[in-house]
């Protein structure tokens, strides 16, 4: 197991928002310039801290969406309606504003860009964010399959970029729409059939990354293990404000 690139203290850094980009009606990408950023590996996240005028502060973790690129960092934030931090990040924060963060955090859910094993990515909703970092970091064009479960086509993050990357690189996309599918396509959920048809078979020893709400991750990981994948090859990251 590789050691994380966090030899000393993880200091709070002051980033500057250089641009914002709406990915869907409820998700926004923050493009940040982070002086002192030590670099990251695809799949890692940061802790973000907001501080009110009276000194009250709140922290949350957000996945990095961008490939390693100097001190430039992109976070994609899904707005949670009653959230404390995400409505601010997706609605108030604007280019030119400072933002405190520290990282990179998480040395397990990372993809090794020197690995030549095929990659299987399984995303539930905004769990696609750290997986997008892997897709973007794949400059050597290792074959990647992305199985992306989401409510409806309007919720797809990075839709045009994923389509373009699928056109020009060995990226296979499988969208599963749980509530509303485009005309002529059925709705569906992750299942043994989906794993059997859309995932890499276990004998190809794929590197597997599963990220999403806990229920999705639990189901997907169980299906992969039942389908013959080595549990040790399945890396998971769960998120979500709701428990199980």
């Amino acid at each position: 197991m590789a050691r994380a690139a966090v030899p000393g203290r993880l200091n709070w850094l002051v980033a500057t928002v250089t641009a914002t980009r709406d990915e869907t009606a409820t998700a926004r990408t923050l493009v940040l310039d982070v002086p002192g950023w030590p670099g990251h590996r695809a799949g890692q996240h940061v802790d973000v801290k907001l501080t009110a005028e009276d000194g009250y502060s709140a922290q949350r973790s957000y996945s990095i969406a961008s490939a390693p690129d100097g001190q430039r960092l992109e976070l994609t934030v899904q707005r949670i309606g009653d959230g404390e931090v995400s409505p601010y990040l997706t609605g108030v924060l604007a280019p030119g504003d400072p933002l405190e963060l520290r990282g990179p955090i998480g040395g397990w859910f990372v993809w090794d860009p020197l690995s030549t094993a095929p990659v299987l990515l399984m995303a539930g909703g905004s769990g696609v964010v750290p997986l997008m970092s892997i897709v973007r970091a794949n400059t050597k064009k290792v074959p990647v399959r992305l199985i992306y479960s989401l409510r409806s086509p309007a919720d797809i993050l990075y839709a045009p970029e994923l389509s373009e990357r699928a056109r020009v690189s060995p990226l296979d996309l499988t969208y599963l729409y749980t509530q509303a599918a485009p005309a002529g396509q059925p709705t569906g959920r992750i299942s043994a059939n989906v794993v059997a048809s859309a995932a890499w078979p276990p004998d190809g020893k794929p590197a597997i990354f599963v990220c999403g709400p806990s229920g999705f991750v639990e189901t997907a990981a169980d299906l992969l293990v039942a389908g013959g994948h080595d549990p040790a090859s399945v890396k998971t990251e769960r998120f979500g404000p709701t428990g199980t």
């Binding site: 501080t51 709140a58 397990w108 639990e218 990981a221 549990p231 199980t244």
Partner: protein, 200 residues
Amino acid sequence: MSGIISRGFSGRRRDGEKLPPGQYLETGFPVLSAGPTPPVRTETWQFTITAETGDTAARWDWQQFMALPQESITVDIHCVTKWSKLGTHWRGVSLDTLLDGIATNAGYVMARSYGGYTTNLPLPDLRGGKAWVAYQYEGQPLHPEHGGPARLLVPHLYFWKSAKWVTGLDLMIEDRHGFWEELGYHDYGDPWREQRYQGD
């Protein structure tokens, strides 16, 4: 720490709420695991304490474990991913009971889990009514997602120290890193001192 003010941020705070720094109140019970949930059956479950010499100091199967004195526990829990949950109810066996009668010079413990997870703790943090092996949560058998059939419960430290699917403790003279500690997380993990990562 710097004091950069987030323009237009007021936050949401609750009067009288006593949370460690950087934590927020959670009413659900989020899951955090690095991989698939390992299937663990009580028929084959074992809990082993290994001495610093490598010898087995004590071992229980599920039946023997359930025959030990049981305690009801009400505690607050704090996850390093920022959520805290107050007043959670558990049943389990105190580590004081499990460690009783074991002579050791060890200062540290590596908790071992089914599925390969490990985490390191100072031995004194497992004694004195501060730690349990818990098998019941809110009156129900502990769900596999949350570490069932049994997990470590060390609520005064961040919750990754409360190893899910625990199957044993290795007593150690010298401290070594467990799974998350090797990946940059803090060796001790006191939420009140916000010891999230190495160097905090």
